[in-house]
């Protein structure tokens, strides 16, 4: 891998966002006709690196050399024109256009001012033949299956004379047979001398299809190896091998008897969570780990009554319960802090106070009239207990920092005196100081005997806080680790157990 002519070289790419260095001096060299896998944990910087390459982000430092010429893309249009294409994780072609219109979108063949449909049809047949694809150029895109749409996207890239094709988790929504079909196409592309940057978490696929593997961690490039030099274990240990950077508060909780038992919980969507069993004890922090798309959020939103499930039994303190909508959960003192506080947490225009006491109206109303004096007492208590920094109770919550907004939401739920708290990504997007405060609150709640589910994509956080970690992959529970078994590699092993 030392010498060789590269089609693409990225040297010393650095990209900073307010408060984080997402990419730190990253170098990546890609050879033509090779499948180059790019691996790393969630947030390691893979997507950011690809966005820098594709012109979506502008790197703060570093050089990109394509076919021996230094390039600098201001937009993805420019990248496309220079021969770089990206097959996105979530494909979004226009459903009501035909295959051929999608293929030539943005560069329709013209005759004068009119679109030349005849030429378009001819060119489409030719392009599809090149990739041995057999579908009708005049079919509507919405009638195609996911894998067909994907091959259409690949055909689009090839017809664009792409030298480099980026595939971001291309198999995440494909069946086994469709994966084989995709691999056949990739084989063809390789023979045509096209370089493929292949991002995936699925170890088996990488071992099968990739010629070489680059591994990233915490915004840095760890190295590039020939796939033959690697095993699944060495990849995982290189992906996670780092020391703990954050510190966690002392925990004094002692897990007690089982409070909530979940059995055979299954979504109505076949690709979502299925047959999940677990238990939650009094005074316990249960960590839930998994990669993006493991359906952790969906599972717990299902338990909380936001998403529908077909099968599953919930037992609370030995009694079977039914949760159809969130209020059923709240009445049983089960609460959910959602993953995305902007989308489903805060009421941005309402005051900090109302965001906290809004759940208390049943308790503080007399004859249907809200007693605002009592409401404000509750809010003031919440503000004090969680040291929320806000000019006043009437300040709209949208003007607070992310950490303070999160504390407002914690206060809202904790003032309802819950027994079971499901916290989905409780520290996402907040600064280190506020994170520590939230860890302290969680540890204290567990010590008071509350049961806590903590869903997190930051493995360190789970290893530092949880008493037990349940790992999910692709909608299934793939295992459970007790404190003695904790380790990043053990978690990653379970998180990548695809069927």
């Amino acid at each position: 891998m030392e010498q060789g002519n590269y089609v693409l070289e990225m040297h010393g790419i650095t990209k900073e966002f307010p408060g984080v260095r997402a990419l730190d001096d990253v170098t990546l060299k890609v050879e033509p006709g090779k499948v180059h896998a790019l691996m790393g944990e969630n947030g390691a910087g893979k997507s950011t690196l690809m966005k820098c390459l594709f012109g979506i982000y502008q790197p703060d430092a570093g050089r990109i050399i394509l076919k021996g010429r230094e390039v600098r893309f201001q937009s993805s249009m420019e990248a496309l024109k220079s021969g770089i294409s990206m097959i996105h994780q979530e494909l979004q072609p226009e459903p009501y256009l035909t295959v051929m219109e999608n293929l030539w979108m943005g560069r329709l063949p013209k005759k004068g001012l009119m679109v030349d449909y005849r030429a378009m049809y001819r060119n489409t047949v030719e392009e599809l033949k090149r990739l041995k694809l057999d579908f009708d150029p005049k079919a509507l895109v919405k009638t195609l299956s996911v894998s067909k749409i994907q091959s259409l996207e690949i055909a689009k890239a090839v017809s664009n004379n792409a030298n480099v094709i980026i595939m971001d988790e291309p198999t995440s929504s494909l069946t086994e047979k469709e994966v084989e079909y995709l691999f056949g196409i990739i084989e063809d592309l390789r023979r045509q001398g096209i370089a493929i940057i292949y991002i995936s978490h699925k170890m088996n696929e990488i071992m099968r299809i990739a010629d070489c593997v680059s591994i990233m961690r915490d915004g840095k490039m760890i190295g590039t190896w020939d796939t033959r030099e690697l095993t699944i274990d060495t990849i995982i240990s290189r992906m996670v091998g780092r020391e703990l950077k954050e510190y966690y508060p002392q925990k004094h909780n002692v897990p007690g008897e089982v409070r909530l038992r979940v059995e055979d919980f299954t979504s109505i969507h076949p690709k979502s969570f299925r047959h999940v069993d677990f238990e939650l004890r009094r005074g316990e922090i249960l960590g839930v780990a998994g990669l993006v798309g493991a359906q952790r959020t969906e599972l717990f939103e299902g338990i909380y009554g936001i998403r529908a499930h077909t099968a599953g039994k919930l037992t609370l303190d030995g009694q079977q319960i039914e949760i159809r909508r969130p209020i059923d959960a709240i009445r049983r003192r089960i609460v959910l802090l959602t993953e995305d506080r902007k989308r489903s947490g805060i009421f941005p225009a309402l005051g900090v106070g109302e965001n906290i006491y809004l759940r208390q109206y049943d308790r503080v109303s007399r004859l249907g009239k809200i007693n605002y004096r009592k409401c404000n007492q509750i809010a003031a208590e919440g503000v004090k207990r969680f040291s929320i920094k806000s000019p006043s109770l009437g300040t709209p919550v949208r003007s607070l920092s992310g950490g303070n907004q999160q504390k407002v939401l914690l206060a809202r739920w904790l003032m309802t005196e819950p027994e079971i708290l499901i916290l989905d990504e409780p520290t996402r997007g907040i600064d280190v100081g506020a994170k520590y405060e939230i860890y302290t609150i969680i540890a204290q709640l567990a010590a008071e005997g509350k049961s806590i589910v903590m869903i997190s994509s930051e493995l360190n956080e789970l290893l530092g806080m949880a008493d037990r970690i349940m790992v999910m992959c692709d909608g299934r529970k793939t295992g459970e680790l007790s404190r003695e078994q904790f380790g990043e590699e053990a978690v990653m092993q379970l998180a990548t157990q695809f069927e």
Binding site: R325, I330, T338, R343, P348, L350, L358, R359, K369
Partner: protein
């Protein structure tokens, strides 16, 4: 450094105050200008006239502001007003009137037409709410459709034998009293009714869990769901209660004018939406107050009356009103952009 900050904040504070109170300030300026040009404008008689003219609009705007705060829209409002007016007229005529809608009907007590109008409109409001909340059809489309259905229903009813789409008149005095009567010889009854409806709406929106649920749904529907608020039920009730205010508005329109036709209420929804939006009720939901809405209605009332008083052509009045709507909403949007 500190002083500089305070100074800057002081300057910003004044600007903020001006920005936040554009409506109030321009209302005040307008009154002053009209009063200087035409000193007779400043009399209790003029004020009373403006209030009387805008009472039913005020009541309709109460319902509309609830719907807007929930993040919705009710384009059927005007047609509901029209249906209520025709129902009131047909059921509230004098027994000895020459041309009666129901020739053999005895004279009914005034409460009967009022209740009948309220019940029918309430049912239509419920239908709006169910279509919007349960079937997730956009409020704009739902109420556009039901508005047409209600109008058609009203026209069919209005065309019944022997009325044949003739204007209904000869309303009984007890009903007329509510629209154009005076209490103690000086206080117009219609103003008192409007004030009562405004007070009740204000109480609902500010002091009841139901009212606060409307704000939270308009502000962030997903979060409201997570909070255990019954979003569907709340929305259905919002549209149903709004329809009750439209029914009261229609009843009073008939009472005030001593009659009704099926054209009553036409385009009232746009007046109501305009007044609400100018009064600071956000058309994207979650924001706005009842006192603000009241100011918005008064502002339009004063412009209407004041411009006529000054002898400005009605065509120009429309242009002035359009400019006011755009400016008010423009300032509001700017304010919110800055906060992001």
């Amino acid at each position: 450094m500190n002083n500089e900050n305070t100074a800057r904040r002081g300057k910003r504070g004044v600007l903020d105050f001006l920005m936040n109170n554009v409506i109030m300030i321009s209302l005040f300026v307008m009154i002053v200008v009209i009063a200087i040009l035409q000193p007779r404008f400043m009399s209790t008689r003029v004020l009373r006239d403006i209030l009387i003219q805008n009472s039913s609009r005020m009541i309709i705007a109460c319902g509309m502001s609830m719907v807007l705060i929930s993040g919705g829209m009710d384009l059927a409002a005007g047609r509901i007003v029209g249906l209520a007016a025709v129902m009131t007229g047909s059921l509230g005529q004098l027994a000895e009137a020459s041309r009666r809608f129901f020739p053999n009907l005895p004279q009914l007590p005034p409460i009967v037409p009022l209740l009948a109008a309220i019940v029918v409109c309430f049912v239509f409001g419920m239908l709006n709410g169910v279509a919007i909340a349960k079937f997730s059809i956009p409020p704009f489309i739902v109420t556009l459709g039901t508005g047409m259905i209600i109008w058609g229903t009203n026209l069919l009813y209005y065309d019944l034998e022997p009325n044949h789409s003739q204007p209904i008149g000869n309303i009984q005095p007890d009903i007329k009293f509510m629209g154009s009567g005076y209490l103690f010889g000086a206080v117009p009854v219609i103003i008192l009714i409007a004030a009562a409806v405004v007070l009740v709406t204000w109480f609902i929106m500010k002091y009841t869990p139901f009212g606060r649920a409307i704000y939270s749904i308009g502000g962030n529907r997903d979060a409201a769901e997570v909070c255990g608020i019954n979003v569907q039920r709340t929305l259905i009730w919002t549209y149903a209660i709004a329809a009750i205010t439209f029914a009261i508005g229609g009843f009073l329109e008939c009472a005030r004018t001593n009659g009704a036709t099926a054209a009553y209420g036409e385009n009232y929804e746009f007046d109501a939406i305009a007044a609400c939006v100018v009064g600071g009720v956000s058309n994207s939901g979650g924001v706005g107050t009842i006192p603000g809405m009241v100011l918005g209605v008064l502002m339009f009332g004063i412009i209407n009356y004041g411009l006529t008083f000054l002898g400005v052509q009605p065509y120009w009045q429309k242009i002035v009103k359009g400019v006011i709507i755009l400016t008010a909403v423009g300032f509001d949007v700017r304010k919110n952009i800055r906060k992001k």
